[in-house]
């Protein structure tokens, strides 16, 4: 296990392996996304209650799932960077924050657009939407804290602490918001479709969830590569890389 761990700690290795992964993962992801979107938009039947507006589910649910998972990826990377002082974990954590924020934004926006035809309002202070909003704030907090530090190594550590604090708090926030909403709930609004989703609707959804996970990985790797270069700009391997990549 340790040799692999050490390899992950080596920037040039990570840079080249991530490049190799991206070369096939990115096309596959794009194909999966396009297939899933076309399948969900054009080839699935309309939902009984919501009609065609439910088709937003094919981006809303995957974005929400991946946004939440992304926070845990970020916090775990932060923990690794704090405990084992692994610089590459730092890079991964920093790279995850803006990507996670983008996915959270998508989940929020599509949720709002979905809410208008379904509930007749753009925004409901529903437990899930509210905690998604909090998640966006947490992501933005990490991004803002990172940008505020001049010393990027300190920035990485500080963000790692913050993301761990956030990870402890996410379940608490979610539970308390959930409880708060059930206390104040006036008209009962429930997400439909999830409990009794038809398999013809389910398969494209699963495909989209997988594709979004893959896309998150791609974005994470792309961000890490950019960050790696910047951090390692004075090292020999980056110099060599420049000769190779820029001359061409």
């Amino acid at each position: 296990m340790w040799p692999i761990f050490h390899k992950f700690g080596s920037p040039p290795w990570l840079y080249s392996i991530s490049g190799a992964i991206l070369r096939w993962l990115l096309p596959i992801t794009l194909i999966a996304l396009i297939t899933g979107a076309i399948w969900g938009l054009l080839f699935t039947p309309a939902e009984n209650v919501q009609g065609n507006s439910y088709r937003i589910i094919y981006i809303h649910v995957p974005a929400a799932v991946v946004a939440l998972a992304g926070y845990y990826v970020m916090a775990l990377a932060g923990a690794v960077s704090l405990i084992w002082r692994m610089k590459m974990a730092d890079v991964a954590m920093k790279a995850a924050a803006p990507v996670g924020a983008a996915f959270t934004f998508i989940a929020l926006f599509t949720g709002a657009v979905w809410g208008k035809p379904t509930w007749g309002t753009w925004w409901v202070w529903d437990a899930r939407i509210t905690s998604m909003l909090v998640l966006l704030f947490l992501y933005l907090g990490v991004v803002a804290l990172y940008e505020a530090f001049d010393n990027k190594e300190a920035a990485g550590k500080a963000c790692a602490v913050l993301s761990l604090v956030g990870m402890v708090n996410i379940p608490i926030i979610y539970k308390s918001v959930d409880w708060w909403y059930s206390l104040h709930q006036g008209a009962s609004i429930k997400f439909t479709g999830e409990t009794s989703i038809h398999s013809s609707m389910l398969y494209p959804l699963l495909l989209m969830i997988a594709a979004f996970y893959a896309l998150f990985t791609c974005c994470l790797l792309l961000n890490m590569r950019a960050e790696l270069l910047q951090r390692e700009q004075r090292t020999q391997w980056v110099r060599k890389l420049i000769d190779k990549e820029v001359v061409n």
Partner: protein
């Protein structure tokens, strides 16, 4: 007193490397600081003297390579005086945050009068001058029984008499078997061996 007779090191630096802003400040720096030694770290501005001292005392924990082993309690005086303007010198010493034991009142009084702050014990520190702030910190040196002192530019803002006093303090600390590591541009006028660590040339002498 020589290094050979001094026994086990109180502080050991092992292959320290530090890079700041793309420039290597020092590379593969190893040395042992033993009891009864006085070390002066030299170097041009920006040579990394303060950075090295912060690494040695443990305030810098990452961003450098190498290990530091600390074997004894230490006392660190940085650029900042760590004095609260709203507290009097007496309170500043009595409530000091560095975790020393609580000093008795008489001890604080005698220390303050020894550093020339007799009569200033109970005025708010913000009325004191920068040099007097440094002198309160000298009183900390008098009170402390830490075997290792790490002093960052201790002579700044101190008048001639104060410099002599501080030099006498350093000598007595070394004579009592303690050790001192300090950064300074000044030539020390002390009658004990001074070891030099020049960060610009990388020489240990």
């Amino acid at each position: 007193m020589s290094a050979d007779s001094a026994g086990a090191p109180v502080l050991a630096a092992r292959s320290l490397c530090l890079e700041r802003g793309g420039r290597e400040l020092f590379h593969d720096l190893s040395f042992d600081i033993c009891a009864g030694q006085l070390w002066q770290i030299e170097g041009a501005n920006g040579a990394g003297k303060t950075s090295l001292l912060r690494i040695l005392c443990g305030l810098s924990r990452y961003g450098f390579d190498g290990q530091v082993e600390r074997h004894v309690p230490l006392l660190y005086l940085g650029h900042q005086s760590a004095l609260k303007a709203l507290l009097t010198p007496r309170e500043n010493l009595a409530f000091h945050v560095s975790g020393d034991s609580r000093y008795e009142d008489e001890k604080i009084e005698s220390a303050l009068s020894r550093v020339g702050l007799y009569g200033y014990e109970d005025v708010a520190s913000h009325t004191l001058s920068a040099g007097q702030h440094r002198r309160v910190n000298l009183a900390r040196l008098l009170l402390s029984d830490a075997p290792l002192w790490l002093l960052d530019e201790p002579f700044t803002a101190i008048d001639k008499a104060g410099v002599e006093e501080l030099e006498a303090l350093l000598v007595s600390q070394v004579a009592a078997g303690g050790s001192v590591v300090m950064t300074s541009h000044q030539t020390l006028n002390v009658d004990c061996d001074v070891r030099f660590l020049n960060l610009t040339t990388g020489l240990v002498a």
